[in-house]
Assembly symmetry: C2
Homo-oligomer: 282 residues x 2
């Protein structure tokens, strides 16, 4: 596995959003400038500021030969991707050869799929690393990261949210829930965090969810047994904006197990909107 001050060649397979770029910059700042593999139709064009290649999801063969040519040892998989159906992918020869393993990987939840993909990478002699290993300063700390801290009611809601996420773990569903005053308001599954928070906002606007004033907490944590190299939950400024629209009291994340993208912007957004953003002891 990777060691402190490791300078083995690093690649990041980039899905969507700004987070892959942020991790790439953090890795470069730490002395490990990565090679970026942009997934067509997902990755941000900003990857082109780095040494990079664009590939389609199905080009597994070309991916492995590219990484091998560059002597890459460690690979991180960062960023969002809409989960495809295996049958929809145009596979190159390297993918077709691995079709049995790929088909098995696609039979289950997202954690199962990512674990299957990681195993395929490892069979190539690649070491799959997590964002938290190449950019540890992105990990959520314990305690508030802005000016506000959770109230006692919010603390109780956070505990309930954490317990709920743990209870959901065997089902490999989502990583986020919204709890308000001891009541489960929303549970995230395929729709994702943004859509879930938008739904809570809509429920409040439609007065179908009646709470006095800002109330409730969005809790995000990895599923128990989740491979943190592959799909570490993350929040960013847009999470704070969505939580503010939903009129929540704050956002709570499992300390050391959730990434905070653009931390300074998150803290500023939280303070401006009157929310807390805090890491809790998992």
């Amino acid at each position: 596995m990777s060691e402190p001050g490791e300078t083995r060649p690093l690649a990041i397979v980039c899905g969507g959003g700004k987070f892959p770029i942020e991790v790439a910059r953090a890795a470069a700042a730490a002395g490990r400038t990565p090679f970026l593999v942009g997934i067509s139709g997902a990755a941000d064009p900003a990857i082109e500021a780095f040494a990079h290649v664009w590939l389609r999801i199905g080009q597994l063969g070309k991916l492995f030969s590219t990484l091998s040519d560059r002597g890459v040892a460690d690979v991180a998989l960062i960023g969002g991707l809409t989960r495809p159906e295996l049958g929809d992918l145009r596979l190159d020869w390297g993918a077709i050869k691995r079709l049995p393993e790929l088909a098995l990987a696609f039979r289950g939840g997202d954690n199962h799929l990512l674990a299957g993909i990681a195993a395929i990478f490892e069979r190539e002699g690649l070491n799959v690393v997590g964002a938290h290993e190449i950019a540890p300063r992105l990990l959520a700390p314990l305690g508030p990261i802005g000016a506000r801290a959770p109230t006692p009611q919010a603390e109780a809601d956070i505990s309930m949210g954490a317990a709920l996420i743990a209870a959901l773990s065997p089902f490999d569903a989502g990583q986020g829930v919204v709890i308000a005053k001891g009541r489960v308001v929303a549970v995230e599954a395929a729709e994702g965090t943004d859509a879930m928070l938008a739904r809570v906002a809509a429920l409040r606007d439609a007065r179908r969810l009646r709470l006095s004033g800002p109330a409730g907490v969005f809790v995000k944590a990895p599923k128990r047994g989740q491979d943190l190299r592959l799909d570490m939950p993350a929040i960013g400024p847009e999470t704070v904006a969505a939580a503010a629209k939903a009129r929540l009291q704050g956002v709570a994340v499992a300390a050391g197990a959730v990434l905070i993208a653009e931390r300074e912007a998150v803290a500023r957004a939280a303070d401006a909107s009157g929310l807390f953003v805090a890491g809790y002891a998992p």
Copy 2:
């Protein structure tokens, strides 16, 4: 408790939707014409075909005196209500007297609230009965109610859905989930069944959820430990329509523990849309 052929006066407190009317007609057909209490702003005007009174949610005192005047012994609470905040209700004297118990009831999930309300009724000497006790033919049977039956994949998804609902029970969240090919697509909480199924439809339309053809099952069951007199889950023709829009394979409900409103219409809608609707062994 009520006995077979019971002719003690019966009242139904009616929330929204057609289901209270359906239960009232079924009870009348069985020889127990009920007195209907329509909740203002929720109950269907069709309650006026029966002996009835309209009341606001907060008029607990007037409710109990009305039932007492009519010699009502058994009360059923049927139909949907947007959960209010206690502080938003205009309470009459009978409610104000009972404020401590009401306040306690409002501290938790929906099951807790309904249990608290039922306890308040019981303290008045009223017997709270479930729709399944006054109209047993509304209960979901074991097996399909239309032409189609679940495929083996659907059966596996149903088992997973049932297990997930059971795991969620201690959190008093929702009663419905959507599972597709071993993957949790959606979990119902405060938004309700219709909104959850609409979300699944939107995910598929936006191709954010990519499944080949009709796939997935909507599973509905009571939470473990749920008081079935109070909030028995129910489905109706609109459930089938929403499941069809979400391009699911079918709807599965816990046999004997979920009510099917307008069963003939449900079966016709299922057959017309190509879905199965089936009760499974809980």
